[in-house]
Symmetry: C2
Subunit: 157 residues, 2 copies
């Protein structure tokens, strides 16, 4: 950790405080590339009626739009809290290089957020999870995957 | 599984095929409440330059907007493929009641998607994951959580 990383994290923390004032959850995040801030974001779940609008997902969406690519390789994310499984997975899908966080998922649990619960759920076998999961019609759905595989001009991600 | 569920899944599968034609990934999903389709969606990662725009995340966003709430309790999601960790977590955050899927994460892996890899990453201890994770400034960030905890008029989700 150096002075630059601390400065970036302080910006993310500042956004987490601003978010509360705006009526969002207490989470902020920024994305940095080549020493410059590409995008910043905060939690907007209740403000936008979007359960996916966590700080990290919001800032990933903004950074990708700004850089005009779905591939954020070369970027670093600074989040005021340890990413939940949704956000961590989004970070993987976006190919972000490195994650800095401040508060932990245990801290988030202590103030009433489900991060830890969802981490636990993902680690359980499907049949033991709290949301029932049922498979059907794989024999019909697989044709789309076959079409995809044979498509010569597909964009991979 | 009954005729209604099959009919809904066939709509999700149809969307997965339409998605390929539009230039998206081979994934479709719909959300149903009280026997009616609330929203439908397909993968738009490459079309929208949004790494989070999987079929399930897209349809959750649309359904939440349409129902004007971040809480999709009472809803069922039909996805043409087993949700990746990002989408599964989004389903938990949205409080969706039940998940139907067709193709498996192994099927997705076979055609080049990272679902299985990300499931494996989440199950690893932080220090063994492929993306480096560093904690800093928790002592400064925790103040936002304290403000949140003391806020009398907060909207929980």
């Amino acid at each position: 950790m150096d002075k630059f990383d601390e400065k970036m994290m302080r910006k993310a923390i500042s956004l987490s405080r601003i978010s509360i004032k705006k009526g969002g959850g207490p989470f902020g995040a920024i994305i940095v590339k080549d020493g410059r801030i590409v995008a910043s974001g905060h939690n907007m779940v209740t403000l936008k009626n979007d359960p996916t609008a966590h700080a990290e997902v919001s800032v990933i969406r903004r950074a990708a739009k700004k850089l005009n690519t779905f591939d954020l390789s070369g970027c670093t994310i600074y989040s005021s809290c340890e990413p939940c499984p949704m956000c961590l997975s989004a970070i993987y899908w976006a190919h972000i290089d490195k994650i800095y966080y401040a508060n932990t998922k245990a801290d988030a649990k202590d103030i009433g957020f489900d991060d830890s619960f969802i981490y636990d759920q993902l680690a359980l076998p499907v049949e033991k999870r709290s949301i029932p999961v049922v498979q059907l019609l794989r024999n019909e759905a697989i044709s789309a995957f076959e079409i995809w595989q044979q498509k010569p001009d597909k964009t991979k991600y």
